[in-house]
């Protein structure tokens, strides 16, 4: 009963924030303008155009990316059985940053054919770094979570150092602004053509793990107990790794690496629904999306027109809530 109530509340809040978000922008627009933009769309009306082609995809991208990062955070925490894990544990964020920064610093052409290369290289960077981390974390035909974790930290540090070196050697202040974007994230480049990539990846992953939620909950008891209870630990871990690298890769390539969501939202989910809830993953995705929508809206209200880098907002508003959650006596990471 309580679970259904939380789901309805989350969906309702998502809808409210989307409607509010549609009203924030450079063109003045009230609810009637928004309704008109959807019901009687006029392509020559720039306000209608801004609402349908700029604001809505931005909000939906924030929803999808927030959901993706929270969902992947939940998977990673379950896989390594550690509440400190987040989707960037495999080095995705730093790999993506390095990939994008390499383009801005002239190592790769900024456009090749009709492709704008920073997101492409960000995606490639995320995958390559994840692959290296996985190779380092693979011993005796199985993934060793502790080794994976350490390899992720080491390779991330190396990528961050390389980004730092390139930034230091930068001959242009403008290039540094791109580096900031690729370090903290933004939804400003959202469009209807960009949105399907992270959205399809997320939906596929949600469908896959709708069948694996039970194994995931058992995995949180530890690999030996999970094995004893009939879970194919190795297969489940590979499924998690592949999903996290693809879903996070798309999220980072479209919006930059946004921190903290993947760390805190899984804890919020477990705090509300318990550690082994049947629909934890789906709820976690909803809360992640809602949290990101709220952060994006706040960033644009606080610092118009571009908004503050989204990573700053996620930390500012997420940390106090996270601390409150951890201080609650009845909260536990696993059952």
């Amino acid at each position: 009963m309580m679970r259904s109530l939380y789901f309805i509340l989350a969906l309702l809040l998502i809808a409210i924030v989307i409607v509010l978000g549609l009203q924030v922008g450079s063109f003045e627009s009230d609810l009637s303008t928004i309704a008109e933009a959807f019901l009687n769309y006029n392509p020559d009306n720039t306000t209608h155009y801004a609402i349908v082609h700029l604001r809505l995809p931005r909000l939906l991208l924030a929803l999808v990316v927030g959901a993706s990062l929270a969902f992947c955070g939940y998977l990673m925490q379950a896989m390594v059985n550690n509440g400190l894990a987040d989707p960037y544990l495999l080095g995705t964020a730093s790999g993506a940053s390095l990939g994008a920064v390499l383009v801005f610093f002239g190592f790769v052409e900024i456009t090749i054919g009709s492709f704008y290369m920073p997101p492409v290289l960000a995606m490639a960077g995320a995958f390559i770094v994840t692959l290296v981390v996985v190779i380092l974390g693979y011993r005796k035909r199985q993934l060793i979570p502790a080794q994976l974790l350490l390899a992720g930290i080491a390779i991330s540090s190396l990528c961050t150092a390389m980004v730092g070196l390139l930034t230091f050697l930068s001959d242009s202040e403008s290039k540094l602004k791109s580096v900031i974007f690729w370090s903290m994230g933004s939804f400003e480049r959202a469009s209807w053509t960009l949105l399907p990539y992270p959205a399809v990846a997320l939906i596929m992953a949600l469908l896959l793990f709708a069948f694996l939620q039970k194994q995931l909950n058992i995995l949180m008891l530890g690999s030996e107990r999970a094995q004893a209870l009939g879970v194919q630990v190795s297969h489940t871990r590979w499924a998690i790794l592949a999903t996290v690298s693809i879903v996070t890769g798309f999220a980072v390539a479209t919006s930059g690496p946004i921190g903290f969501v993947g760390l805190i939202v899984p804890h919020v989910t477990r705090g509300l629904l318990g550690t082994t809830g049947k629909s934890n993953l789906l709820f976690c995705a909803f809360v992640g999306g809602l949290f990101m929508l709220l952060c994006d809206l706040l960033s644009r209200i606080i610092y118009p027109p571009t908004g503050l880098p989204i990573g700053i907002i996620t930390s500012f508003f997420g940390v106090p809530f996270f601390v409150y959650l951890l201080s609650r006596k009845n909260y536990k990471f696993s059952s």
């Binding site: 922008g25 450079s26 801004a50 604001r55 001959d171 403008s174 602004k177 480049r189 469009s191």
Partner: protein
């Protein structure tokens, strides 16, 4: 008797020492009096022991200023961005960011010229501690740049050259201003400096005054905290500029409009009024400011 002689001798010695010390104490302020005190555009007072001779600029624009005013032999260094005039390449290279303190010390400059926002004040304070004063200029208008030329002339004892240069540039600026005064429906110009994210020339930049002289306006009317603010696509759609500057049509098609296809709706794109100003002309407040105005005039009124 002997003791008395020793005591008198000691008195005499003390008197001589005290007199010499006293003379030295008096000499120090005298030296300072002989020096000069100048106040830069940020209101910082700089005490120079003598009129500066050995100087260099910490910005490429300042190097251009100095080459136009000062005896070339007295310009002792260049920074990595300096590329004009060609003679600048004959000077030793010194890093301005981060400042290579040892190299600057080795060059023994009497004064370094820079402009607001280009050299951190902490760097200037550190150099001041090492005995090298840094003089800042600040420009909001074209007239500020011309006054800057005159100031450098006054500091360097080259008033005649500097005033002549400033006056001739001023006349050309006034002529342009007269030609384009009170134009109805001034052209709205948006100038981008970076595409991802989109950064533009804001209202509080020198470009706004250049456009005013040419009877046009900076499309960005709002004054942001930063001189080069970041803008969203929606904000630019609302500005709907008549002219977009920042790259050739082909280049912006590849790097800007392909990334932000929504911006193909702006008037400048529809009318094909996209121009690429020369980077080291539009960006630099220096003696080529009229050359920059002439280039902009060509874009605005082809």
């Amino acid at each position: 008797m002997k003791n008395k002689a020793i005591v008198y001798s000691l008195y005499l010695l003390s008197f001589i020492v005290a007199t010499i010390a006293g003379c030295q104490q008096k000499q120090e302020p005298q030296n300072q009096d002989q020096g000069i005190t100048i106040t830069d555009d940020l209101g910082r007072e700089l005490h120079l022991p003598k009129q500066p001779v050995r100087v260099f600029g910490f910005t490429s624009a300042m190097a251009e200023m100095l080459f136009a005013i000062v005896d070339t032999a007295n310009i002792i260094a260049r920074t990595p961005d300096c590329d004009y005039p060609a003679a600048v390449y004959t000077k030793p290279l010194v890093s301005n960011y981060p400042v290579d303190l040892e190299q600057v010390l080795a060059l023994k400059p009497d004064l370094i010229f820079t402009s607001e926002g280009m050299t951190p004040l902490e760097d200037a304070a550190r150099l001041q501690e090492l005995g090298i004063p840094v003089y800042y200029q600040k420009y909001r208008t074209v007239e500020d740049v011309l006054r800057g030329i005159e100031d450098i002339g006054r500091i360097m004892g080259r008033e005649q050259v500097a005033n002549h240069l400033a006056d001739s540039l001023r006349k050309e600026v006034q002529q342009l201003e007269t030609n384009y005064r009170n134009r109805p429906n001034p052209l709205q110009v948006l100038t981008i400096t970076w595409t991802d994210p989109i950064y533009v020339y804001g209202q509080n930049t020198l470009l706004t005054d250049k456009l005013r002289i040419l009877g046009a306006e900076n499309a960005v009317k709002e004054t942001f905290d930063q001189p080069y603010p970041a803008l969203t696509r929606e904000y630019i759609l609302k500005l709907n500029p008549d002219i977009l500057m920042g790259g050739t049509k082909e280049k912006l098609e590849q790097t800007f409009f392909s990334q932000y296809p929504e911006l193909r709706k702006i008037k400048a794109y529809k009318d094909g009024r996209i121009y690429a100003p020369t980077g080291n002309l539009i960006e630099r407040p220096g003696p080529r400011i009229v050359e920059s105005l002439r280039e902009l005039e060509g874009f605005l009124y082809p």
